[in-house]
Symmetry: C2
Subunit: 475 residues, 2 copies
């Protein structure tokens, strides 16, 4: 132990090896923010560059000590904190937040893993570009964590997931070597796709230290609309119409049920809601980016609403009249996670389905849950354009959240995940597997695919020292 | 041998096991179309479905016999034919050409690996959708081969490479198991990205048997322009202007030097060239797809030319006035590979670079080649929007192609690939590695990345029976 700490101090400098003995409270690194998986670290190590990351990994490998890579520690599946044994070292990338370079003619940006997402967005904007990855935690999550978990968010419909925004990657392997695939190339067919293997591997195959990201021209205008929609089937139909008429100008398509917005109304009464009195049980937030002008965007959006109102897939629409109002629409949407937390912890499901299967899934699963759990309430919202729902199960009125979770989590998970499987979906759309879904995975993932995953893990991390036990059971 | 053949006949039926003894000439499967790597197969096996593929793999594994998966056999790097030993079995996917299903509301199409690319495009079009993968061999290449090699082509700028168009995949492993990851999901974070590991692995990790592909709405209008451009730097600047003003409506951006078009003029004199007399040494083919109308596309294109003419990055432009003329522009561009072949086999380089590095790369490499090989001629054309050049080195006038290749191939490759490396590029942009570049790879690819590739190959194909010796040296 003392020997390991000495080696770590040698690698990153004394002030960057934190222990309870020297620094007291380490809970910011040891606990996830929802405090579902409180942990206990042997030490928190904060390397300042890639060579230091490699040195830390070599020291840990030499001592047979497991490493947990950590970015902003904002994950939702227990992927970035130590277990409770006090033996694991947390490797925090937060000191590695340099922008290494921006290539305007190539529209690429190279950043270190510890850059906060918002800082990446800002670096792009400062140079006249858009970096479109956007999600609720963007003020504190890091790009390394975004890539390690293949984060999704609100712009996937147009720009793809984190993996689609990454052209090149740098990582440290389990043996402390540096893999340098930091290119800004749109095409590169020189062998296996190691970049995409690292992206989404949740720190279990290598530690992402830097990435070269794709940038896009800033749009000339952006419009946001709030639409009242009579049913989920109508929302899917509205999506099709918008995709056909707007093409890639359609950049966001979020759906929210009445109950999720009623929680926002209850817990954030100061937030006024457009179309608040409308009887339709669903709302859609639709975003358009336009390369020409606001007037052009407005005209295109009106063309969509004309068709949608005529064929009954939208009942009414409010278009934000200012940037402030547009932000307010998004703020309403993004307040749902907080509002539901105020109501009491619920049972979360981050699921995806073929868009075509969503209406049938929602109808069947709503009914099955209502039958299994009397009075159950469903917070159903998400990125409909990507087929991604946050389909969360809230306790009946008057039932305590703790009691509800203890009694119903297994029941609700079984109903939801079996319905997801029946409808050709995935039990983890954008949050990853981590600890939360590791033991569910074998019930829903192709067995041969899982066997491949285990073989790859063993090949690249034979001593099982990188984020052990996440994604795959390795004990 | 007899035992293996019996097992193969059992697996796929007697008529689908072809040998010289029973079928005579097998050269269509044994030789690549450029006849650079003539081979000799033990047998050609033509399974009709995924289960039969699995049975063939099991039979070969049991007998320790290597398999070479083959689609349309149109590759350019020696990836899809048997070696000369007569021991390898060619597994042809061509009988597997079913369209398994089209999901309009989800905008996805599921096809078997042996579907010819053009048939996939047509199946999409018949349902009112665009499947944008497009390349010269589309009339005979198969979607399985496109995915196995991560094919590029002319629409990558907007829609990405083959990997970006694939949502789900089905494959048979080296042990004859089926990996079923055939989902139509836009988001799925349930573990390692095995789909992208298979895509681009050139049949060395598994045999792709089917895929679920992304579809897009058909555009309302498509316009093609032919532009005279004074320099490569000006072409890069025109690209930036077009991207800023057109955004995702810019779907193609091809560049051609004067020499490549002079070969088309010489060998295909019946093909009239727009702006033929213009003195500028470069031409750009620019394509726009518009969700609104032809008039709108025209107006946007004019806005681009206005800026480009004013800042000197374009000198003159002709816009195709009909679908036929637009096809003619593309036909001119696509005639370059054939015209250069008429002139005599040359030394091909399928390279990619950061777009920003291309002008300096071309200037330096043109000069270095001119100095090293007196009178050398350069066929320089490609997908500038993706940073992908086909930078081919043609014999000086009067020098025979065979003599030139024998004397200069190593010299030219060394000059070009070293310059590519110096400018942050890749020695294989869209054609893959196969046999052609396997032994070049270790000189230019990150050593740790190559070590990972070897570890993955060993983990997933421990007996080295899937397309052995391609991509990686495994003997």
């Amino acid at each position: 132990m003392a020997e390991l700490l000495a080696a770590l101090r040698q690698a990153v400098g004394q002030p960057n090896v934190l222990t309870r003995a020297t620094h007291g409270d380490l809970s910011a690194w040891e606990n996830d923010w929802r405090k579902r998986w409180p942990g206990h670290a042997r030490a928190v190590v904060r390397p300042g560059n890639t060579e230091e990351v490699a040195a830390v990994v070599k020291a840990c490998t030499q001592h047979g000590v497991a490493l947990v890579p950590q970015g902003g520690n904002t994950g939702l599946v227990g992927g970035s904190g130590p277990d409770g044994t006090g033996t694991q070292v947390v490797l925090s990338l937060q000191r590695m937040h340099r922008v290494r370079g921006l290539d305007a003619a190539n529209a690429t940006l190279t950043v270190e893993a510890g850059c906060v997402l918002q800082a990446v967005q800002q670096a792009a904007r400062d140079a006249g570009f858009l970096f479109p990855l956007s999600l609720a935690a963007e003020g504190s999550c890091t790009i390394g964590g975004n890539l390690a978990t293949n984060a999704g968010g609100t712009q996937v419909l147009r720009f793809g997931n984190a993996r689609d925004l990454c052209l090149g990657i740098e990582a440290v392997t389990a043996s402390g070597e540096v893999v340098n695939l930091l290119s800004g190339l749109r095409k590169d067919n020189t062998g296996y796709d190691l970049r995409n293997l690292l992206v989404g591997s949740e720190g279990t195959l290598g530690i992402i230290t830097a990435a070269t990201l794709k940038l896009f021209p800033l749009p000339a205008a952006q419009l946001t609309a709030w639409v009242a929609v009579p049913s989920m089937a109508a929302a899917v139909s509205l999506l099709g119409t918008a995709q056909r008429l707007l093409g890639p100008a359609l950049t966001g398509f979020e759906v929210m049920n009445a109950f999720s917005l009623s929680l926002v109304a209850r817990h954030m009464p100061q937030l006024t809601q457009p179309l608040a009195a409308h009887a339709d049980p669903w709302r859609v937030l639709l975003e358009v980016q336009d390369v020409e002008s606001e007037a052009h965007a407005q005209a295109r959006l009106e063309a969509v609403f004309e068709v949608a109102m005529a064929n009954g897939c939208a009942s009414d629409a409010a278009v934000a009249q200012s940037v402030a109002q547009s932000r307010h629409f998004w703020h309403l949407r993004e307040s749902i996670p907080l509002a539901q937390a105020e109501e009491g912890t619920n049972i979360k499901h981050d699921i995806s389905l073929p868009v075509s299967a969503i209406p049938a899934f929602v109808e069947a699963t709503d009914a099955a849950l209502a039958q299994a759990i009397e009075g159950v309430r469903l917070v159903n919202f998400g990125h409909l354009g990507d087929g991604n729902l946050h389909y969360n199960v809230q306790a009946p009125p008057g039932v305590s959240a703790a009691e509800f979770l203890a009694a119903q989590e297994a029941v609700a998970n079984a109903i939801v995940y079996q319905a997801v499987a029946q409808h050709g979906g995935s039990i983890s759309a954008e949050h990853g597997v981590g600890w939360l879904k590791r033991d569910e995975l074998p019930h829903y993932k192709d067995a041969t695919a899982l066997a491949w995953m285990r073989q790859i893990k063993r090949a690249l991390d034979p001593a099982n020292l990188l984020n052990p036990g996440r994604v795959l059971r390795t004990d």
